[in-house]
């Protein structure tokens, strides 16, 4: 990362008449596009930039220098599982034998691609303790929506139309209720106990024959394992509901625990978290959805199946909830995740959870004298501080986060979960060395001292990044979202 700000836009580098491409000569000029009726053609040409190739390369290279990624430095963004993204996975994803396949090619010409899909599907089933996965959903939120559609399809298939409620812990991420609403379900919140786990006594009276199911993460958003999960699952099952596992926090369970064995019926996994496909600035991700035995028929169309002769096929069925994607999901991401699982193998996959958990506990124990730890005890892959222990200086979590940027670290997730006012959610993954963690711990301690000795300096942070704090009120009051608006 470069601290000199590169703020130009490609449009500002444009000169009429420049060009950045070459194409073969049109051999068939006797058929001219201008023969199309003029009322079907665009009147104004799109005002796209006109730039030469080197200008384009330098522009985006300079721009990338103002970005921070996992390859740049420590990225302890809670709940996002910012692992190292192995380079071999990129190489496999670019493999020409896969990259040039059209999705509707004859089925016998795509057997290798379908084998990849099926192979990953089976690997995830084994890791999660589920019967079958669909890899069609494009992201975690999309998987969540798909999983809830499975839940509703199951109830509707039994003619049980009154089940419209889905129970969500009050500590859950906002996406859970949003997914439920998009799926036509009503959200009912269940309270958390002071230790952040589900209040089973508050849950009991909510359970009746209008409950479609319950959504949970485990460990929860505070990194605490829900010890009463078996009891909760039994209660929900007894009232006829299904248990949904939000796989956002699956990483610490790798090698140790399977959602299917905890009583969950439906779940999604974020391949971009647990299986290390790159986050790409926000996507493309992948959110496979797994189900226990008896629910497979509701998975979205199309499904990839394998017959006894080892031949793969793509199937559409009427029992399915329907299609939630154009084809078979983000296949390029599926390739990467499969390469990751094969690279680690069973002997290394089982170490992922314990080492990620060790790293989180190490950071927590090393900082809890300077930062407020609301919940004592062993955490899983992440934990939450409620701001600085000494809040007298007025330095907030936002200030601490911004000051971390000055020291070359990405900030943790801040102000989530909403259970605490100054939440600072830290997730170091299994790939981080003790030296990296020690460096982070030292900086966090330094910032705590700075907050005491020179609070104004911390409140003005960051000081050494390419740009300083931004005016986001102005951005929201008068949104300027295109170059044309900016140029006006």
């Amino acid at each position: 990362m470069n601290n000199t700000y590169y703020g130009k836009l490609i449009f500002e580098l444009s000169q009429e008449g420049r060009c950045g491409y070459t194409l073969p000569k049109n051999e068939l000029k006797e058929f001219e596009l201008s023969a199309l009726p003029s009322q079907l053609l665009r009147v104004n040409e799109p005002e796209l930039p006109q730039v030469d190739e080197l200008t384009v390369v330098r522009h985006y290279t300079n721009m990338s220098n103002n970005n921070f990624g996992v390859d740049t430095g420590f990225y302890p963004l809670g709940s996002c599982t910012m692992k190292y993204n192995p380079k071999i996975d990129e190489e496999i994803a670019a493999h020409r034998d896969f990259a040039v396949l059209h999705p509707w090619q004859p089925i016998d010409t795509v057997q290798g691609a379908l084998a990849v899909y099926h192979g990953l599907q089976e690997s995830l089933s084994e890791i999660a303790g589920m019967s079958e996965f669909t890899l069609n959903p494009f992201a975690g939120a999309h998987g969540e929506l798909t999983g809830l559609m499975v839940m509703r399809s199951y109830h509707m298939s039994r003619g049980d139309d009154k089940r419209v409620k889905v129970i969500v812990p009050d500590s859950a991420h906002g996406t859970n209720p949003a997914s439920a609403a998009v799926c036509g379900l009503e959200v009912v919140q269940v309270k958390s106990l002071p230790d952040g786990t589900v209040d089973v006594e508050d849950l009991r009276p909510l359970l009746d024959d209008t409950v479609a199911g319950m959504m949970m993460t485990n460990p929860n958003t505070l990194g605490i394992f829900e010890q009463r999960i078996a009891e909760i699952a039994a209660l929900v099952h007894d009232c006829g509901g299904l248990m949904y596992y939000d796989g956002a926090n699956l990483n610490p369970l790798l090698g140790r625990c399977r959602p299917g064995d905890l009583g969950f019926d439906i779940m999604h996994i974020n391949l971009h978290k647990t299986f290390s496909t790159p986050h790409g600035g926000g996507g493309p991700g992948s959110g496979p959805v797994g189900v226990r035995q008896g629910l497979e028929q509701f998975l979205p169309n199309p499904r990839v199946t394998k017959n006894d002769e080892g031949f793969y096929d793509i199937n559409f069925t009427d029992e399915s909830l329907g299609s939630i994607s154009g084809f078979l999901g983000n296949f390029g991401v599926i390739l990467r995740a499969y390469a990751y699982i094969l690279t680690l193998g069973c002997e290394n996959l089982k170490m992922v959870g314990p080492l990620a958990t060790l790293n989180a506990n190490y950071v927590k124990e090393s900082l809890k004298d300077c930062y407020e730890l609301p919940i004592e005890g062993v955490c899983k892959h992440e934990f939450v501080f409620d701001g600085l222990k000494d809040k007298s200086s007025g330095v907030t979590t936002l200030d601490v986060a911004k000051r971390l940027l000055d020291y070359g670290f990405h900030a943790p997730t801040i102000y989530f979960p909403l259970l605490f006012h100054q939440a600072l959610m830290i997730e170091p993954t299994e790939n981080e060395s003790r030296e990296t963690l020690d460096g982070f711990i030292e900086v966090m301690r330094t910032i705590a001292c700075e907050a005491h000795d020179n609070p104004d300096m911390v409140k003005g942070a960051p000081h050494h990044t390419p740009v300083r704090r931004l005016d986001d009120t102005q951005a929201a009051l008068h949104p300027i979202v295109t170059f044309k608006e900016l140029a006006q």
């Binding site: 009120t473 929201a476 009051l477």
Partner: protein, 126 residues
């Protein structure tokens, strides 16, 4: 300390109604605007829309928060405060002066279910 005006009716979700004849001016309280921070957008209904007591009729947004507007009374919208379209920050300047919608009350009896300035003051702990 938040400003509270005598003679208005207040709801638990921090809206107020100022009654003038058969009309009510609905807005959010000074306490509510303070909690929300800089208001960047007010989502308002259209004239002639019906609003119902206890139902939302719009939302106010700040940069990092949003709050539904719950109507304290039922009626028909006869005017929306168009000034808020261009300058939503007026709500922060003076929440009581800058009402959000003007409603023709369909059931003035509903006003009895709302709080007086005194009771509202106790609610927000001031």
């Amino acid at each position: 300390m938040s400003k509270i005006i005598e003679g208005l009716y207040y709801s638990e979700s921090h809206e107020y109604v100022r009654v003038e004849g058969e009309f009510g001016y609905i807005g959010i309280t000074d306490y509510a605007q303070h909690e929300l921070g800089n208001v960047v957008y007010v989502d308002m209904p259209e004239v002639d829309d019906e609003v119902e007591a206890g139902e939302d009729f719009g939302a106010v947004e700040s940069v990092k928060a949003a709050s539904d507007l719950i109507s304290p009374v039922s009626g028909v919208v006869v005017e929306v405060n168009a000034a808020l379209e261009d300058e939503p920050g007026l709500v922060n300047k003076d929440a009581f002066e800058n009402w959000i919608i003007k409603v023709k009350l369909s059931d003035p009896g509903e006003l009895d279910d709302l709080m007086t300035a005194e009771t509202y003051k106790a609610l927000i702990g001031e």
